[in-house]
């Protein structure tokens, strides 16, 4: 089957079986490998992308369900790491292995789009992505920083 997808603002035609998860279309057909395969069962969130602004676990969304919708992947969040979350992620030195971080950032971006000033409870509720390296405390801080809720300089910042 041929599907028309709008990915990061570009219209793309792909040929795939209807049941192919969006994740594999993004990774293997469109070369957008920033979106990761972690569990294949919508449990870990490493594959989180936005579909019409809503965070979706792309390993469990068949491509036919994503057709004609607006898809944003980590590559489309900004072209130059200028999204407030990406900046905050660097300031707080969040990633370790980094594998889950694309999904983590996309989940956080959806949260901030909906709640620009999230409470700790909002963050805990929205951020169900799994991280094996254990970056959760920094994810919390980085979201608060991106939301403008942290004023001080980050400890990990390099001298200019």
């Amino acid at each position: 089957m041929k599907y028309a997808l709008t990915v990061n603002g570009s219209r793309r035609e792909v040929e795939a079986d209807a049941d192919t998860p969006l994740l594999w279309v993004l990774r293997e057909e469109l070369g957008l490998t920033g979106t990761k395969f972690g569990c294949g069962a919508a449990l870990c969130g490493a594959c989180t992308v936005h579909v019409d602004g809503v965070p979706v676990r792309s390993c469990s969304l068949p491509v036919e369900g994503a057709a004609d919708q607006r898809i944003t992947t980590i590559e489309g969040l900004s072209t130059d790491r200028s999204h407030p979350l990406q900046k905050a992620w660097i300031e707080e030195q969040v990633p370790q292995c980094g594998y889950c971080q694309s999904g983590m950032i996309m989940a956080a971006a959806a949260l901030l789009a909906e709640k620009p000033q999230p409470t700790d409870a909002d963050i805990a509720e929205a951020m169900t992505n799994l991280c094996r390296c254990g970056t959760y405390t920094r994810v919390r801080k980085a979201i608060r920083r991106a939301a403008g809720m942290v004023a001080d300089a980050a400890p990990g910042r390099a001298p200019a």
Partner: protein, 722 residues
């Protein structure tokens, strides 16, 4: 430690590449762990390109731990270049670059050795290069090198205001005789080392551009996925490939000894093809195995105390006699049995690898922790020379020891060989979880003889588990010790000065593949012994920190870490309704302590805060160390609260994260990390915080409920974590 350079091991090369420096020098540091002979010799290399770009070569894979960035700091400091411009690359897989951590030379990433084993050699390589730059400039200008200064990659002669960049000096410098003595900067002069510099790999990890093993691609690359015999040790009987071959995109069905793989144009087609197959397995002798049976076997084996651990030069018979004599002086005895389950590494990036097999050899693209072993083993597998095995190391989405093993590498090599085209093999999460090299399940029977003051006069630690070396690829190379004491790590030499101490190990084989799981034997033994120490404190009616203080009287480093954790963690000052637990660990030359504070309401446990303290000697990058300690504590909490791999009918029951939960953000306490530097010598960091999580939580739960939890995971005791 003798800091003189070995001329013999020194290498200087010229050409368009600029200056390449290499060193080989003995570091003399003995880092004996249980069953592992000590000794450290390291190589380090750096390159200065014609454009002045500095590249350092390391034998450490980036698996999340950030070693490369800390090594870049060491080089920036001594070479006088800007940290953010240093590039980190994987060294060629040649013996000159191998690290010698535990007696054998390896190109590998384990034992938390990456930074401590390469830091000093790279500093010296960088210092030598700086001296050669100064000399090259001074010769060109006909001035005294002492009158020149090197800063930011430029040599300056202040009296004449002349300047020359490292890039233009490199070809000249490369012709110079390397200095035989390289003075390193004194600590007070450091401006890069010891600072929390941002990791060099972070930017690529926030925009999706970091390329992991699973992301690699080639023109014409096929993708495979695999199903392995559910029972360990079983084999593939028969499989009809026809149903898979009917799936659009499937190219081939490959039979392996214990598995079947489907190769297709993409992963989804491969998976659909695999799901369409009905392989018949020969389950073999382990088909009836169950975790309940094994738990009984372990408890029984722990009581046997077969092999007494003795450090080199110690006599097991004397250790036993001393223990018995000390025990005779006890006024009473305390005994307890502890248990821990198999654990999966579960890195977020499932096992994968890409292979291209040609007449000329094999090329591999791998996120691996064990390059030198792969080179040898794959050469044997294909019957070719090791130099015909080319490995391109990719960053890994977590390793934690799982990527020491090479099962998935052997598979993709064989699949690619049969297909005759490059193949990327990607395991499903279900295969990853059900075919791990698990942290061994273990049991320990611990007994203390107490004096009238409640302090131990003798202590005995009798553990049982499978042998790691029986299963891990690490046991298939080199010489094996007569007894594999890796299962006694931490317990072989606990951080407390227990008098009349004896640790014994009994091998309890059950056919389950076991391997090196972040912090290895320390992960369970610290839980066992630190919980038991807490039991002794309660017996003695002493505060747990005070009891430990008395055991650390003559161990100032361990005591300082404990005191810092107690002070920073607000020991004894918990708010009403909150309860605290403490634990101390030591491994890979570092000491760690943690204090956790929690509350329990109707069986629901809330972790409020956790304080971690590490003394790892020189803290090359305190920011990175904090990150690793936070992550280690969380990794340890996942295991302590939820982690358990169980067997039923010989197969692993947990297939995905719903059945093998990890700690979530919501469950994660506030974590506060402090770094102490009581010594100069660097120790490990990546693994060291993992082991204290379980005993700290168990001890806090005891304080909260009066119930002693002697088995992980704690969720099995009817507790939930909110």
């Amino acid at each position: 430690m003798s800091p003189t350079l070995s001329r013999r091991g020194f290498l200087a090369a010229t050409g368009a590449a600029g200056l390449v420096l290499g060193f080989e020098l003995p570091l003399g540091a003995k880092r004996a762990e249980a069953g592992m002979p000590g000794g450290t010799v390291v190589n380090g290399f750096l390159r200065i390109g014609p454009d002045g770009a500095v590249t350092i070569y390391t034998a450490t894979t980036e698996i999340g731990q950030g070693t490369g960035s800390t090594l870049a700091q060491a080089v920036a400091e001594e070479l006088e270049v800007e940290y953010k411009h240093v590039r980190v690359e994987m060294a060629p897989i040649e013996p000159a670059y191998f690290i010698k951590p535990f007696g054998g030379a390896v190109y590998a990433t384990f034992g938390s050795m990456g930074t401590y084993s390469q830091f000093e050699p790279l500093r010296r390589a960088a210092g030598a290069a700086r001296m050669m730059m100064l000399q090259a400039a001074a010769t060109r200008w006909g001035v005294n090198p002492e009158d020149c200064v090197a800063r930011y990659g430029v040599v300056k002669h202040p009296p004449s205001e002349r300047l020359a960049g490292y890039g233009e000096l490199a070809p000249v410098a490369a012709l110079l005789t390397p200095p035989s003595e390289v003075p390193l900067k004194a600590r007070e002069q450091w401006s890069v080392i010891g600072r929390p510099m941002p990791r060099l790999d972070t930017p690529a990890k926030v925009d999706g551009s970091a390329e992991y093993g699973i992301d690699f691609s080639l023109p014409g690359l096929l993708v495979a996925t695999i199903a392995q015999c559910p029972v360990f040790g079983g084999t593939l009987g028969s499989v009809d490939p026809a149903p898979a071959l009917k799936v659009r995109g499937v190219r081939k069905v490959v039979r392996l000894e214990n598995a079947v793989a489907v190769v297709a144009t993409g992963w989804w087609a491969a998976k659909k093809g695999l799901d369409a197959l009905s392989p018949a397995w020969n389950a073999g002798p382990n088909a009836g195995h169950s975790s309940a049976d094994y738990a009984g076997l372990l408890r029984e084996a722990a009581g046997r105390g077969e092999a007494v651990f003795a450090a080199p030069g110690q006599d097991p018979a004397k250790i036993r006699a001393d223990h018995d004599a000390a025990l005779a002086g006890a006024v009473r005895r305390v005994e307890a049995v502890y248990e821990a389950p198999f654990l999966d590494h579960a890195p977020m990036e499932p096992m994968n690898g890409t292979a291209r097999v040609t007449r000329d050899g094999v090329e591999l693209w791998l996120a691996t922790q064990n390059q030198s072993v792969i080179k040898d083993m794959v050469a044997k597998q294909l019957g070719i020379a090791p130099e015909k095995v080319v490995i391109h190391t990719m960053p890994a989405g977590g390793g934690f020891g799982r990527r020491i093993e090479i099962d998935y590498v052997r598979q993709v090599v064989e699949i690619a060989r049969q297909v005759g085209q490059p193949v990327k093999l990607i395991w499903s999460r279900e295969e990853d979880m059900t075919h791990g090299f698990y942290r061994p399940a273990a049991a320990a029977r611990i007994m203390a003889g107490l004096g009238p003051d409640g302090m131990p006069v003798a202590l005995r630690f009798d553990a049982a588990c499978e042998s790691l070396l029986d299963h891990s690829v690490q046991g298939q190379k080199g010489q094996r010790p007569p007894v594999d004491f890796i299962g006694l790590m931490y317990a072989a030499k606990p951080p407390y000065a227990f008098p009349g101490y004896m640790a014994r190990l009994t091998k309890a084989e059950y056919g389950v593949p076991v391997g090196f799981w972040r912090s290895v034997g320390t992960s369970q033994n610290c839980f066992f012994l630190e919980s038991f120490t807490d039991e002794l404190a309660a017996e003695a009616k002493l505060d747990p920190v005070e009891y430990r203080r008395r055991l650390l009287k003559h161990l100032p480093r361990e005591l300082a870490v404990l005191e810092k954790a107690a002070a920073a963690g607000g020991w004894g000052k918990a708010a009403p309704g909150r309860h605290q637990g403490v634990a101390l660990s030591r491994g890979n030359g570092s000491v760690v302590a943690a204090v956790v504070e929690l509350s329990v309401t109707d069986g629901a446990v809330k972790l409020h805060r956790m304080t971690g303290v590490i003394d790892c000697g020189i803290a090359g990058n305190p920011g990175n160390i904090r990150q690793q300690v936070e992550g280690g504590l969380i990794f340890g909490l996942s295991a302590a609260l939820f982690g358990e791999i169980t067997l039923k009918d010989g197969a692993v029951e947990q297939r995905n994260f719903d059945a093998y939960p990890l700690l979530t953000l919501a469950q994660t306490p506030a974590i506060d990390v402090h770094i102490l530097e009581t010594g100069e010598r660097m120790g490990g960091v990546g693994e060291e915080a993992v082991p204290v999580a379980a005993p700290a939580v168990a001890n806090a739960l005891f304080a909260a409920t009066g119930k002693r939890l002697r088995v992980t995971p704690f969720a099995k005791a009817g507790l939930s974590f909110v």
